[in-house]
């Protein structure tokens, strides 16, 4: 069916308020935060802004009957091209389907529609002294639906884990229009082992099995106190060694972040008032909990880190803590500042390796950067071995683009070689799909079989994940 016809049919079914068909409007949906779509934006056939599960069902039934692809989209902050219609199709912009259906304080759960923005949800939950712990760097932008679809996690995954640990149940519209509820039709139980765990299957499925229209999340009580320790190292190896010793001392920080020299430079350029000291590596530990334990853990970290670090700062003053942590949270895009005529790109940005291999990996990435003559800014969640490498290039220089693609490929292979994976949290989408077979072997075939069960016609976000 051609673009015009698809638009007309959708307009007929859903009305002008919920459908975009103008060619110009569609162009705005041709990208996400990936380097891939920056180079090659692809507009969809139409955009639908559903306001209810029934709207989604209407689109799916129409698409199923006519063999048209459907691509769910949250805020488009994904870094893999996951929400872009690279093979044509209808984009479902779920960001305005965003009600908080229920905050069930007595059961410490919240039921939301997929479009709610993560930070907004936590702002509402804070009124009840609750929070939804996974905290991606994109918290203020990304939708909870996108987080579930990508199984996102963040700075505090070390202690609080990923989105999957909090999803108790989902409502999903399947490609044929069926609506299923996972985690029990009526269940509000926290523990539930009845049936095959379709919730876990859906979390992280990147929109290739169905459209998530309702999410039941477990919330946690907000910790009462926080503290941040910063340790500055002149030797890169000392950073992971310190992390290990902290764990061995029986301490489980809520976040452990690493910035290497290039990341430090980027942050200081962006926000000089943060004033990070120049060094080979900076570790940021966050501890949270009750005030006495925070104090104890902070002091222990300080003592352990002091054995190797040139400088250790432990802060519980909210202002200073915010500054130290802000440095980390802005690193991603601040990497754009290290080169006047360049920008960081989101490619090869999310490998995850065993803790014991973090220092070797960082060194190897630097070498690869030198090999291709490309600056790479490294930072990440060292506590769980998730390294964010940000190559900085002029994305409008074809030569640099070609080189960086080779570099990125080598970074991905390096991760697998180190006993890790090409993606720790951002997902696979289009950009890492080529490694699926290498990473999963025979299991990859079974993934494809599972996909066929849900999506026999192959219309649900094709060309992604597996």
């Amino acid at each position: 069916m051609d673009r015009k016809k698809v638009g007309e049919e959708l307009l007929k079914r859903l009305g002008r308020e919920k459908v975009l068909t103008d060619e110009l409007d569609l162009m705005y949906y041709s990208y996400d935060s990936s380097f891939l779509t920056k180079l090659k934006p692809v507009p969809p056939l139409a955009v639908v802004l559903p306001k209810s599960t029934e709207d989604v069902q209407t689109v799916m039934r129409f698409a199923y009957e006519n063999g048209i692809n459907v691509i769910p989209r949250g805020a488009g902050t994904g870094e893999t091209g996951g929400c872009v219609a690279i093979n044509d199709g209808i984009v479902l912009d779920l960001s305005t389907f965003d009600e908080i259906v229920e905050i069930d304080v007595s059961n410490m759960q919240v039921i939301v529609r997929p479009g709610i923005v993560h930070a907004q949800l936590n702002k509402e939950l804070a009124k009840y002294n609750l929070f939804f712990p996974p905290d991606p760097g994109s918290s203020q932008m990304c939708t909870v639906g996108g987080m579930v679809a990508n199984n996102a996690s963040g700075l505090r995954a070390v202690k609080y884990g990923c989105t999957e640990q909090y999803v108790l149940g989902l409502e999903v519209v399947l490609p044929n229009g069926d609506i299923i509820t996972t985690g029990g039709l009526k269940s509000k139980a926290i523990k539930n082992v009845s049936g095959l765990n379709l919730t876990k299957l859906m979390v992280g499925s990147e929109g290739i099995l169905g459209v998530i229209t309702k999410i039941r999340l477990r919330c946690w009580p907000k910790p009462k106190a926080r503290g941040i320790a910063m340790a500055v190292f002149d030797n890169l190896d000392d950073a992971p060694a310190t992390v290990l010793e902290v764990y061995q001392a029986g301490i489980m920080p809520s976040g452990i972040e690493i910035l290497d020299s290039s990341a430090i430079e980027a942050v200081n350029q962006f926000k000089p008032e943060i004033g990070l000291p120049a060094a080979e590596a900076i570790l940021l530990f966050e501890v949270d909990g009750n005030p006495p334990s925070v104090e104890y853990e902070g002091n222990t970290i300080k003592e352990i880190a002091s054995r190797r670090a040139r400088l250790v700062e432990w802060a519980t003053d909210p202002k200073r803590m915010a500054e130290l942590w802000e440095g980390r949270s802005v690193t991603a895009a601040a990497a754009a500042r290290v080169r006047k005529d360049g920008s960081r790109i989101f490619a090869g940005e999310d490998i995850s390796v065993p803790l014991s291999k973090v220092a070797d990996t960082l060194r190897a990435i630097r070498k690869l950067g030198d090999k291709y003559g490309i600056k790479v800014v490294n930072y990440g969640h060292i506590g769980d071995g998730n390294v964010h490498s940000a190559p900085v290039i002029n994305p409008e220089n074809p030569e640099e683009v070609e080189k960086v693609q080779k570099l990125v490929h080598e970074i991905h292979l390096l991760a697998i070689e180190m006993g890790g994976t090409t993606t720790g949290e951002h997902g696979v989408g289009v950009v890492r799909r080529e490694y699926a077979q290498l990473e999963h072997g025979l299991a990859h075939k079974y993934m494809q079989e599972i996909k066929k069960v849900f999506d026999p016609k192959g219309i649900m976000n094709p060309g992604k994940l597996i």
Partner: protein, 430 residues
């Protein structure tokens, strides 16, 4: 100047990583909620224009012009992109390819000649007596002006019968010893809509030892032109004003209008004139330009006697985008208000969220502007303040309209008006 050669177009577009941070802070996106209104969407479209992938059409202009130019996105962009400048550059580029008779008349003819603008204001004053709508219909103005004037009629606050310029002298001597020679950049909004603010400004400055000169040849700061796709006209205006003011050898050039001071700031002049011959002159001019609030606080260090017979008043302060976002001036107006005996400053929620006024925006995008305004009014109402202080004629007009719209009794003032009243109620004047 070629669109593609403008520094932000040349250097910044490629820096966008489409992270969406800008989207999460944009007041327009919060209302429209499709990617079409997202700041990163604007950046993307400017890129498409630059690369010739789309043509500079009115349809693109229409989408770009949803933006208020509030700069909230730009100050939040981690990649340091001046998103609003890209937008302005693109509007101008599109405009050049699609001339619009109404805009020529308004922005090239009317709004570059103070006398004509004043005449128009006079006409407006007359019109308001009979009803703008009828007037606009009779004169055919509705066809020429953009947007839905019918709906927007109420926004144009009462146009006073006399402009500030017609009341004030060119040269105003300081009370007592002359400490500084100050050029007063009297913006169109203050001049024509809020002459009482201009009188207060001159009063407060002269009271504090400033010789205040209002160069009669000065013209509009050019901000309305930048926002309406008339960069070249804005450039001409900037060059004109720079030459006029530089000829006086002022210690400072002060303005009570947030939009004017941002238009005359080094950042904006660099955007307009960077790389041109006038660049150095522009720098020396911009170095002297200062917002009035900042000037009264930091240069004059104004003192008001505790014994001033002012009434106890609850005041809340709204940050004009062109002060808070464009120039980072947030604490100065508050500090100034705090120095006024009797003023109890109550912070509103999200004081730096745009009010939706944004110059001519509320006239061209009425419904959207009202949604944004209503959010602002909610914040204002929560404070229970009797007065709303703000330092931009456009915000004053918009919030005054909000007061009417929500049937509130409060008054909208410029901080300098309160300062002036306080000074005049001191027991013994110098």
């Amino acid at each position: 100047m070629d669109f593609r050669n403008l520094p932000p177009v040349r250097e910044q577009i490629m820096k966008c990583v489409r992270c969406g941070k800008c989207r999460s802070v944009c007041p327009v996106f919060a209302e429209i909620r499709t990617e079409v209104a997202a700041p990163r969407g604007h950046v993307f479209m400017v890129q498409m224009l630059r690369d010739g992938k789309i043509s500079p059409s009115n349809e693109v202009y229409e989408r770009l012009s949803n933006c208020l130019m509030c700069e909230t996105c730009s100050i939040n962009c981690p990649s340091g992109i001046d998103i609003h400048e890209l937008n302005a550059a693109a509007r101008s580029y599109i405009y050049e390819n699609n001339p619009h008779l109404g805009k020529e008349l308004v922005f090239d003819t009317l709004w570059t000649k103070p006398s004509l603008l004043k005449a128009a204001a006079k006409l407006m004053w007359g019109a308001q007596k009979t009803g703008l709508q009828a007037f606009a219909r009779r004169t055919g103005l509705t066809r020429l002006l953009p947007g839905d004037l019918k709906k927007a009629e109420g926004i144009l606050s009462k146009v006073p019968s006399r402009s500030a310029r017609s009341i004030l002298r060119t040269k105003n001597s300081p009370r007592g010893e002359k400490k500084l020679k100050v050029g007063y950049f009297l913006g169109c909004g203050t001049d024509l809509l809020n002459p009482q603010v201009a009188l207060a400004t001159v009063e407060v400055l002269t009271y504090n030892g400033c010789e205040v000169i209002i160069p009669p040849e000065a013209k509009c700061c050019g901000l309305p032109h930048i926002a309406n796709g008339k960069l070249e006209t804005a450039r001409l205006l900037a060059v004109h004003n720079i030459k006029i003011f530089n000829a006086y050898d002022f210690d400072y050039v002060v303005t009570d209008c947030a939009s004017c001071s941002s238009a005359l700031s080094s950042k904006n002049l660099e955007f307009l004139l960077g790389g041109l011959k006038i660049e150095e002159e522009a720098k020396s001019f911009a170095a002297r330009v200062m917002d009035l609030n900042k000037f009264l606080l930091e240069v004059i260090d104004i003192k008001i006697s505790e014994k001033a017979k002012t009434k106890k008043t609850k005041v809340t302060y709204h940050d004009p985008c062109h002060l808070a976002n464009a120039q980072g001036i947030k604490k100065e107006p508050r500090e100034l208000l705090n120095r006024i005996p009797g003023v109890q400053l109550i912070e509103m929620a999200e004081a730096n969220r745009c009010c939706g006024g944004s110059g001519t925006y509320a006239l061209t995008h009425y419904d959207l502007a009202m949604k944004i305004l209503d959010k602002k009014m909610d914040s204002i109402m929560e404070t229970g303040a009797q007065k709303v202080a703000t330092a931009c004629p456009s915000c004053m007009m918009q919030i005054s309209y909000g007061m009417k719209r929500h049937h509130l009794a409060g008054e909208v003032v410029h901080p300098v008006e309160l300062v002036s009243q306080a000074l005049s109620s001191q027991p013994a004047r110098k």
